[in-house]
Amino acid sequence: MRGQSRSGPDLMARTLGYFSIALGVAELVAPKAICNAIGLRGLDTMVRAYGAREVATGLAILGSHNAEPWIWARVAGDMADMATVATGLKQDNDKRNGNVLALSALAAVAALDVVCATALNAEKGSRKTALADYSRRSGFPGGLQAAFGAARDFQVPEDMKTPKPLRPLDGGRYDASRAG
């Protein structure tokens, strides 16, 4: 977005980062309630582990200069989540409606993740990473050869001079001053 350092995809990534942390905390704190709501049994530990993954991914998204790989990591996490939730799609699951709702929500979030990661990638491409050649930029209008030592006449202030015992033994202006 013109006039802002954070682009649309950046803002989307940050939102997904905060969402990831919020979901992760919920999974860490209340895995049993989540499992009950979608009719999964005996998966509390797995849901808690997924929660830790969500928090870690969210923190990485918010703390990284390059959120794209972490958004793709979220996509992979979405797939794992959906595979796990889909095990509850059995006819005898009395929470089947909740399960379907959760799967739909996960699919929607996964789609958002893919859109975000793709947009971040496209944005990177649009800013170009082509190699620039600055091999003619010496900064010396008179040429490099003329520049070497051109400011040797500069008087280094006393507070920045090297103590005499640390100066070179021969050659250079400081030997001359030592002789004097």
Binding site: R2, G3, Q4, S5, R6, S7, D10, G63, H65, N66, K124, R127, K128, T129, A130, L131, A132, D133, Y134, S135, R136, R137, S138, G139, F140, P141, G142, L144, A147, F148, G149, A150, A151, R152, F154, V156, P157, M160, K161, T162, L166, R167, P168, G171, G172, R173, Y174
Partner: protein, 397 residues
């Protein structure tokens, strides 16, 4: 007026803010014709430096035309003067200013109490560089209030393009001071870590001051090509061992003078210490990543380490044993800009050097926020960004 305003980590926006006005007798207002994004602005962008507040105006490399002058500054400035504004605000009267130690001016930091607590003693007020240095609005804006303007300015003659003199505000004198405080001898090999804008200026300064050999260390081909153009032998630290190459180039003796033009955000190189720093920094157990300092202390014999690179807080695992036993001299500090600028302006006018070589991108102020990202991520061959608040079009190298 329009200005680049900090709102949080990686969140800078170009927005409308109130125009500045004269607040003190020594103030002046300038209409900004050119300003630049400095590498140290990136430490604020990424929020590694403490003391920023939402709404702060960025920028400390600024020049322009005087449009209003306070009563007490009229002896030194008049409307229409063309001035470069040094990033350090100086009173010119305190003991440190009279010694030429302008970056530790005793009077211009208006948040002295806070700075005293953090650093022990306050440093000078700086433009657009946290509330620890006074919380002064910066110069990435259409207009800038310059406090202590009668001393905080560098007059430049008409007829020289902005691009040639703008960097007198910071990176040219910073590179110059980095080299000068090494007291370069004709027999010295000078190794410079970092080929960003300050590193490039340091290379040119070391060449002008007559080093026998200048070695520049970075990983980005475009920066290394610019360093080579300026007379440096280059080391790509992703391809070669820095320590081995420096020893080869100095017949095993090591470079007599080492300069850190990188600072607290040293790029992770895959070395164990870099990974350690990244991990500690992410857990808020240290603020700065000192990979370059460690390498300098290791390779330097009984020489001088010069540190213009910005450090902000606390760091870990410095080889203090190597430093002490080899008797290394360390010289560092923010730049005493006005101590050098008369001489450097003369060298620009005499065509000894043209600092505009470093500019790779020229953009409008509105595009400034995006350029922070481009510069930070080193995309599009970006080395130095100049912004034109009065709107002079875009140019990419």
């Amino acid at each position: 007026m329009k200005a680049l305003v900090w709102h949080g980590t990686t969140d800078i926006r170009c927005e409308s803010v109130p125009d500045p006005a004269i607040e003190q007798d020594r103030d002046a207002i300038i209409k900004v014709t050119s300003c630049a994004i400095c590498g140290s602005d990136l430490h604020l962008f990424d929020h590694f430096m403490p003391g920023m507040k939402s709404g702060d105006i960025m920028g400390h490399e600024t020049m322009g035309e005087v449009v209003e002058v306070g009563a007490a500054a009229r002896n030194a400035l008049k409307v229409g003067d063309r001035v470069v504004i040094p990033f350090t605000i100086i009173c010119g009267e305190c003991e440190q200013c009279r010694r030429g130690n302008f970056s530790v001016c005793e009077r211009t930091n208006r948040n002295k109490d806070v700075a005293d607590k953090v650093f022990g003693h306050a440093t000078a007020g700086l433009f657009g560089y946290t509330h620890l240095t006074g919380g002064y609005p910066g110069g990435q804006a259409e207009y800038l209030r310059v406090p202590f303007a009668d001393t905080t300015h560098i007059k430049v003659p008409d007829g020289i393009p902005d691009e040639k003199v703008l960097f007198l505000s910071d990176i040219f004198p910073t590179g110059w001071q980095a080299a000068v405080q090494c007291d370069i001898q004709p027999t010295d090999t000078v190794a410079i870590w970092g080929c960003g804008p300050v590193g490039q200026m340091t290379i040119r300064s070391a060449v002008l001051l007559g080093a026998k050999k200048v070695v520049a260390i970075d990983r980005l081909p475009e920066r290394l090509s610019m360093a080579k153009a300026g007379g440096a032998i280059t080391i790509n630290f992703e391809e070669d061992s820095v320590v081995e190459r420096l020893n080869e180039l100095t017949h095993g003796k090591g470079p007599e003078k080492c300069i850190d033009a990188v600072g607290l955000e040293a790029h992770a190189t895959g070395s164990i210490d870099s990974m350690y720093d990244r991990a500690k920094q992410s857990m808020m157990l240290e603020t700065d990543r000192p990979h370059v300092l460690r390498e300098m202390m290791y390779v330097c014999p009984a020489g001088v380490l010069s540190i213009p690179g910005v450090y902000g807080g606390l760091l870990d695992k410095l080889p203090i044993g190597a430093m002490m036993n080899k008797g290394l001299t360390i010289r560092t500090g923010q730049t005493h800009v006005n101590r050098w600028t008369d001489d450097l302006l003369k060298r620009i006018i005499e065509n000894q050097i043209d600092p505009s070589f470093v500019i790779t991108h020229t953009e409008s102020l509105e595009n400034g926020p995006e350029m922070y990202k481009t510069f930070r991520d080193k995309q599009d061959g970006c080395i130095k960004v100049v912004l034109k608040p009065q709107g002079n079009g875009a140019y990419h190298a």
